[in-house]
């Protein structure tokens, strides 16, 4: 399997188009962390269990290709701040070939 291109807009508004591997069992939060697109300690605090919302991002396109929100993700987003209709927890989005061309913006870090 090959890498897919994903564009991630960081919290300062800068866009980064990165190669995300589809064969490493990664999720979008881990890709953001691996490219250091958000300050360590401000993203993925719970490690990817949909229990902190620190990895919230806004899906800017291709929403139809994403997995459905689980009950846990819905619940966590319900408690999070800065939530919009296109909010998702990036830790709940596994990197698959269907995500090629995905564009997301990382939500602001909450205090």
């Amino acid at each position: 399997m090959s890498d897919v291109k994903i564009t991630i807009i960081d919290r300062e508004g800068e866009a980064h188009t990165v190669d995300a591997p589809t064969d490493m069992n990664m999720n979008l939060m881990e890709v953001i962390r691996s490219y250091e697109l958000a300050q360590e300690g401000t993203i993925g605090i719970c490690g990817g269990m949909a229990m902190c919302a620190s990895c919230q991002c806004y899906i800017l396109n291709f929403e139809h290709m994403l997995p459905e929100k689980s009950f846990e993700e819905e619940d966590m987003l319900d408690q999070a701040f800065f939530v919009e209709d296109n909010s998702r927890l990036s830790c709940q989005i596994p990197i698959t070939e269907g995500l090629d061309g995905l564009e997301v913006r990382i939500a602001p870090a909450s205090e």
Binding site: Q39, G41, I45, M49, S54, D78, Q79, F81, E111
Partner: protein, 353 residues
């Protein structure tokens, strides 16, 4: 003043295991944690989640791991200062340290070990621009004394157990309780949700769902909150209140430790991992998720390893004239400070006549 050999800041798995390793070296530990119970993230965030990468445990619930660690360190009688955040550190002339907590409790030790994980857990503040102006002037993130709210108007925001439980409790204390939640469903315990619904039906709780508090008003002190409904037709409403209590859980912050003069990199404390996990300040060590070095892995098992290495170094620091040889518990057993002793049975060698 609490006195100990090693003062550990952070009672997560790494801090707890450090007590065991120190105990083997006859060093006594005291732990400080901002949370009211030991266990750190394991207890606070995911006690019912299974962990699969603890050696010897194919699967263990985070909460059970903490319980086991507490059992393992029991013979070494650690002291705990819980529910208090380590605020300040003062180096003494003899090189020892005094650490004072948010409640003013003082601790004195020759060595301080920071095992603070991601930091101390602090209330998550909603992104309302004016909220800082009203902190302690009508806005509270933690309910310390419910009597403060007797016969007052209170607006609580949130949809989890804390928001539900306090709404129920204050319904009998405050003159008016409003619970504002972003949607109709609540993620708290079922009986709490049902109780809130009951109290809402009889007018003891004013339930405002599909809505958010977006602004606070008042001259000096809070006097009202602006609530925005999802339903545009309902728009916004100004609600008079004496107190606004947003209850949105906790998030970790490095907190006052960041101002202790320690070298910080990427929100973590830099340590000398080639030797003993000591920070740039001699006598202060950092172990577990709170530290960083080249190749750092934020895993519980790495924290355990770092705890063992750190303790050997601390022993030499406290006892510079003593020669210590590392011992295996299979050989030396475990002698607790409480007089308990665990050791393997000695084999009986039969003599040949």
């Amino acid at each position: 003043m609490i006195k100990t050999d090693i003062l550990i800041i952070g009672a997560g798995p790494t801090g707890l295991f450090a007590v065991f390793e120190a105990g083997l070296l006859k060093l006594k530990c005291h732990l400080i944690d901002a949370l009211p119970q030991p266990g750190g993230q394991c207890s606070e965030i995911y006690p019912k989640k299974p962990i699969y990468d603890i050696p010897g445990f194919p699967e263990v619930l985070a909460g059970d791991l903490v319980d086991n660690l507490m059992e393992q360190i029991k013979p070494f009688e650690p002291g705990f200062t819980l529910g208090e955040r380590a605020e300040t550190i003062d180096k003494q002339e003899d090189g020892s340290f005094i650490v004072t907590t948010s409640k003013g409790t003082k601790h004195h030790a020759p060595v301080v070990v920071i095992a603070g994980g991601l930091g101390s857990f602090e209330p998550r503040k909603p992104p309302i621009p004016s909220i800082k102006n009203y902190e302690d002037k009508g806005v509270a993130y933690i309910i310390r004394d419910p009597e403060v709210y007797r016969d007052k108007k209170v607006v609580i925001a949130g949809g989890g157990d804390s928001a539900l439980d306090w709404s129920i409790f204050l319904a009998d204390v405050a003159s008016e309780v409003s619970l504002v939640h972003r949607r109709k469903d609540f993620r708290g315990a079922l009986d709490s949700v049902e109780k809130v619904e009951e109290l809402s039906k009889i007018g003891k709780i004013n339930l405002i769902t599909d809505a958010e508090v977006v602004d606070l008003k008042g001259e000096g002190e809070l006097d009202s909150v602006l609530i925005r409904h999802k339903d545009e037709a309902r728009g916004e409403e100004l609600k008079e209140t004496d107190y606004f209590i947003p209850l949105f859980g906790l998030s970790p912050k490095l907190g006052p430790i960041a101002n202790w003069g320690l070298e910080i990199e990427k929100n973590a404390i830099k340590v000398d991992n080639s030797y003993d996990y000591q920070t740039n300040i001699p006598g202060i060590y950092a172990i577990g998720d709170v530290n960083t070095y080249k190749g750092k892995l934020k895993l519980i098992l790495c924290g355990f390893h770092e705890a063992a290495i750190m303790c050997q170094s601390v022993y030499q620091r406290i006892n510079p004239d003593k020669k210590y040889v590392m011992k295996y518990t299979t050989v030396s057993g475990v002698s607790g400070f409480d007089g308990s002793k665990k050791e393997a049975k000695k084999e009986v060698v039969k003599s040949i006549n």
